[in-house]
Amino acid sequence: MTPILFVLAVGAVSLAGGFLGSLLGLGGGLIVVPVLTLLLHVDIRVAIGASIVSVIATSSGAAAAYVRDHLANMRVGMFLEIGTTLGAISGAYLAGIVPPRLLFVLFGLVLGYSAIAMLRGRRTSTEGVRVGPWARVLRLRSSYYDDAAGEEIVYQPVRARIGLFLMYIAGTVSGLLGIGSGALKVPAMDLAMELPIKVSTATSNFMIGVTAAASAGVYFTRGQIDPFVAAPVAIGVLTGAFIGSRTLGRISSRAVRSTFVVVLILVATQMLVKGVRG
């Protein structure tokens, strides 16, 4: 393969990754890393560096639209970022102490459980859930206009402290395993904080860039960011995220939810396989 073909191929794959990632609140590394390593024979270290770039590109590319359209809840995002960034530091310290294989198995199981819980769905009405003092003081209540449903959706996030704790765990995991923690962030916002699914994926998108930026510096210093691989990834993902962020409002919440569950099962399987095979 010639370098120009390589750039075009990586760009095309990244476009798909950015599109899917921006809809589901994931970084896009899910598609980019296996294609780079298995199909294009790129070194795994370089592929991981490119996936960090992909996470940041998905996040910034999509969040510009999500913030404007109120699909991302900025207050929820900024409050929860305290947890993810603290977790990133813990992860950096724990790396080397905790065996990664055990973690892959553990989080494969957690994600598998989340997928089943999300599949079963939750109560459709949040009435009856007491709004705790944290969610009230933090003024997390918000609304967005849902293009697919054709109405303004008003929602009240609950269990802010549990959400913060889960984000700390998500941040630690992404620091330890170098994987996008969007797969953990979305179920935490969906199941614990009871946000609408589109708000969960859009807010996850808003946050993952900050978590990834915290570790991107290390990858840069270690020489894991290969400009020739990362450039087509960045351009492709940004284009995909741009298209995706204009699509999320128009597709039904049901479709977003089921697609997310399918992808979550894939990620959980991938992690379990990694953990068992080593």
Partner: protein
């Protein structure tokens, strides 16, 4: 219930600006690489050295020197660094925005996030 309109617009524009700047610089760097190395369009062996070498600039100084020398790889790297800086700039900018809105609680929350983020960079630099 929601933030005032201008807050959303300002933060959205900052993110869009960062993304547009970085993608322009990255595309420019890629173009420069291909113009300098015509063999990239035809050679099959050139790819191996591009995806396996460990000689990419990995300090800010090296990137700046490379950009000054007009190297495509260094220009791409400068664009990637702009991309990485965008979420950090968003957090820093939010402190100012909430300050203007006299929203002291969210000013404190975003300031805490920025502090933790800077500590994370420092911890990362020490361990990396």
């Amino acid at each position: 219930m929601n933030e005032p309109r201008w807050v959303d617009t300002a933060i959205s524009n900052l993110l869009r600006g960062g993304v547009i700047c970085s993608v322009t610089v990255i595309a420019l760097g890629l173009t420069v690489s291909f113009v300098h190395h015509h063999e990239y369009l035809t050679s099959r062996s050139a790819l191996g050295t591009l995806t396996r070498s460990a000689r990419y600039p990995n300090t800010i100084g090296a990137v700046v020197r490379g950009v000054a020398a007009g190297q495509g790889q260094a220009i791409v790297m400068a664009g990637l660094l702009l991309l990485i800086a965008t979420p950090v700039a968003r957090v820093a900018f939010s402190i100012v925005v909430f300050g203007i809105e006299h929203d002291r609680m969210y000013m404190l929350i975003t300031a805490a996030v920025l502090t933790i983020l800077l500590v994370a960079f420092w911890v990362g630099a020490a361990s990396g």
